[in-house]
Amino acid sequence: MSGVAPPLLEVRALETRFSTEAGLVHAVDGLSFSVNKGDSLALVGESGCGKSVTALSILRLVPDPPGRVAGGEILFEGYDLLKLSRRDMRRIRGGEMSMIFQDPMTSLNPVLTIGDQISEAIRTHESVSRRSAWRRCVELLELVRIPDPHRRVHDYPHRLSGGMRQRAMIAMAVACAPKLLIADEPTTALDVTIQAQVLGLLDRLKRELGMTVLLITHDLGVVAEWANRVVVMYAGNKVEEGRVDELFAQPLHPYTQGLLGAIPQAGRVHYTNARLHEISGTVPNLIDPPARCRFAERCAKAIDICHREYPAPFRPAAGREVSCFVAERDLA
C-alpha cells in the first residue's frame, strides 16, 4: 500500500527544540515516519523520548517559547503543515485532524457543559445552527456510548467519571469527522477495565468513521492489543519501526528487545524463577546530544562504531526499519 497511495501524514526529519536555562533540549531530533490511511499506528517510548512533543509538533501546538519546531516537514495529504498560516492551521485542527489527551479533566473546560463544548467545536468548523449542533452533540454522545446522552449533554465535566470524560473528549474530537485522530496516552489515567472500553471505542470509531489513528503510548501491551504498525522512539529518535506482529515476534533494536524483556509477561515469569531484564542506566541528557547512537551507553551489545557515529536507518524488509549498527551487521 505505502508504495502506491501517498501517506495521509508524513513527518520528515522533524526537529523540535526547547530552550531551557540549562541549554537547548533536542526533544525530537530528525524524526521521520509516515501514517497511511486506515492505519492504527502506535508511537511508543518511555518518558522523555519525544513522543508527545511529536504529536504537539504535528498539530503546531508546541508552546513557543520555549519550544520551537526547528526543522523538517510535516506533510498532511501532501501539504506542509509547518508552512500553513495560523488561520488555515486552526481550520485543520479539530476539523480534518484532531487530538485527545491523557487527562480529560484538564483538557475539558470545567465551567462549560459537555454540550456547550462539543457544539462549540462543531460550530467552529461548520456553519450549522445552534440547535442542529446541539442535536449532533447528543448523537455524538450516543456514538461514544455515554448512557443517557440527553441528560449528560447538560452536565459539567466534573459530574462525569474519568472514563466518561474521556468518552466525551473523544466525542468532541470526532465531531467533525477528522481524517486523522492523534490520541496522546488516552488511557493512561484510566483503570484497565475502563481502558479496555476506551480502546474498543477507538477501534469501532475508526471503522465506522473511516478514521486513521496515531496513538501515543508508553505501554507495549496497549500497542500489541490495539495497533497494526508501531514506531519505537528513544531519546528523540526513531529506533525501530514495523508491523506489530513482526516487531513483537522479532524485535531488532536492542532497546526494543530490552523493553519487551522488562515487562513481567503473562507467561510463567515469577520472581522465584526469573529476573526481569533490566536496561541499566538512565536516558541520556538531550541538551546538545552528541552525534552517535543515543542508546549506546546503555546497550549491552554496543560495539566501537556505536559510540562514534549515528546509525542510519536500515530497512531489512518493506515497512520494517531499524537504526542500529549491530542489528544491521547481524541481518546483512
Binding site: E46, S47, P147, S161, G163, M164, D191, V192, T193, I194, Q195, A196, Q197, G200, H218, D219, L220, G221, V222, V223, A224, E225, W226, V244, D245, F248, A249, G258, L259, L260, G261, A262, I263, P264, Q265, A266, R268, V269, H270, Y271, R275, L276, H277, E278, I279, T282
Partner: protein, 334 residues
C-alpha cells in the same frame, strides 16, 4: 503457626458530605513470615486504605490487626514506636515522599536517630551499607533527592524502609510512577532483598502483571471487599471470580498473538459509588453472569478448595485447583 500479620474484619468508613464512603468493608487477610502478598484492584477498591491501616497511618473504624498475635491497631506511645520498627512503608511517588531539603544520608539516618540505634559512626556506616544494598554508591549520602532520577529515588525510599530491618514492608504502588525499564530494576531489587533477608511484603498495585510477577499469593479487591484470594499460579491459570476474570482479560498483553486469541470480556459501565454500593454482591452491576440472588444476598468469602477463597454465589466448591501459599491458609472467611 501464627501468621506474621493478621487482619480481621477490618473496616474503614470515611464520612464525607455526600455520605459515608465504605472504603474498606469487613476485610480479613493474613501475611506469613517472608511471604509476598499481592493486593490488586482498580482505583477506589480500598487497597491503599487497607495498606495505610496496616502501617497505622489510618485508624480503622472497626476490626483488628495483629502482629504475631499481638493487637496493634490502637497502640500508643512507645509501643507504637516499637511497631514502626517492624512494619515499614514504601510510597508510590518517589518525588513527594523524600524531603527535598535533606541529604540522602540524613533521610536514611533519621529512622536510626529516632529509634536511638547506634552512635554517629555506626549510623554513618549503616547508611553506607543501606545505599550499597539498594545499588547506589556511598557518595549518594551527600546528595539531595532532586539530583536523582525517579528510579534512583525509589531506591532511596526502599533503603529508608530497610533502615530499621522491619519484618514487613507495605509497598504501595512502588513502581507505578516508573518507566518499564526502571520498573524492572526496582522489582528485581525488591525480590533480591527478599531472598537475602526473608522480609515479607504486602505489595499493592493496580497492575496485575506486576503483582503476578512479585507475589506468592494474590488478593483481589473490588469496591472495599476482597473478591478472591489465590496462589499466583492458580489465579493466572484459572481465575474464579468474574471480576478477576474481567480484570485479567483487560490487562493488555505485550504479545499480539496471545492478545488476539484470548477471550474478550469487556466490562460494561463504571465503578459504582462507594457511598452507596450495590446491594448484595457489589460487583453485580457490572457482572456478566449476575443472577437474582446476587442482588439480594451478599456473597461470603468462602474457601472453595485449599487456600483458594472466592466471594461469589456462582462459584461452587471444588471449582479450583489445590494451592496453598507459603504463608499457610488465610484466615477463615467471616
Amino acid at each position: 503457626m501464627i501468621p506474621l500479620l493478621q487482619v480481621e474484619n477490618l473496616t474503614k468508613h470515611f464520612v464525607t458530605r455526600q455520605g459515608t464512603v465504605q472504603a474498606v468493608d469487613d476485610v480479613s487477610l493474613s501475611i506469613g513470615e517472608g511471604e509476598t502478598v499481592g493486593l490488586v484492584g482498580e482505583s477506589g477498591c480500598g487497597k491503599s486504605t487497607l495498606g495505610r491501616m496496616i502501617v497505622r497511618l489510618l485508624e480503622p473504624t472497626s476490626g483488628t490487626i495483629t502482629l504475631q498475635g499481638k493487637e496493634v491497631a490502637h497502640l500508643r506511645g512507645e509501643a507504637s514506636k516499637r511497631f514502626r520498627r517492624r512494619v515499614q512503608l514504601i510510597f508510590q511517588d518517589p518525588f513527594t515522599s523524600l524531603n527535598p531539603r535533606s541529604t540522602v544520608g540524613r533521610i536514611l539516618e533519621e529512622p536510626l536517630i529516632v529509634h536511638r540505634l547506634g552512635g554517629r559512626d555506626e549510623r554513618r556506616a549503616q547508611v553506607e551499607e543501606l545505599l550499597r544494598r539498594v545499588g547506589l554508591s556511598p557518595g549518594a549520602a551527600d546528595q539531595f533527592p532532586h539530583e536523582f532520577s525517579g528510579g534512583q529515588r525509589q531506591r532511596i525510599g526502599i533503603a529508608r524502609a530497610l533502615a530499621l530491618s522491619p519484618e514487613l514492608i507495605v509497598c504501595d504502588e512502588p513502581v507505578s510512577a516508573l518507566d518499564v525499564s526502571i520498573q524492572a530494576q526496582v522489582l528485581n531489587l525488591l525480590s533480591s532483598l527478599k531472598r537475602q533477608t526473608g522480609i515479607a511484603y504486602l505489595f499493592i498495585s493496580h497492575d496485575l502483571s506486576v503483582i503476578r510477577y512479585i507475589a506468592d499469593r494474590i488478593i483481589v479487591m473490588y469496591l472495599g471487599k476482597i473478591v478472591e484470594v489465590a496462589g499466583h499460579d492458580s489465579l493466572w491459570d484459572r481465575p474464579l471470580h468474574p471480576y478477576t476474570q474481567a480484570l485479567m482479560a483487560a490487562v493488555p498483553l505485550p504479545d499480539p498473538q496471545a492478545a488476539r486469541s484470548r477471550e474478550r470480556v469487556v466490562l460494561e459501565g463504571d465503578l459504582p459509588s462507594p457511598v452507596s454500593p450495590p446491594s448484595g454482591c457489589r460487583f453485580r452491576t457490572r457482572c456478566p453472569h449476575a443472577v437474582d440472588r446476587c442482588a439480594r444476598e451478599e456473597p461470603a468469602l468462602r474457601e472453595v478448595v485449599g487456600g483458594r477463597f472466592v466471594a461469589c454465589h456462582l462459584v461452587t466448591a471444588g471449582d479450583g485447583p489445590t494451592d496453598i501459599g507459603p504463608g499457610g491458609p488465610p484466615p477463615p472467611a467471616a
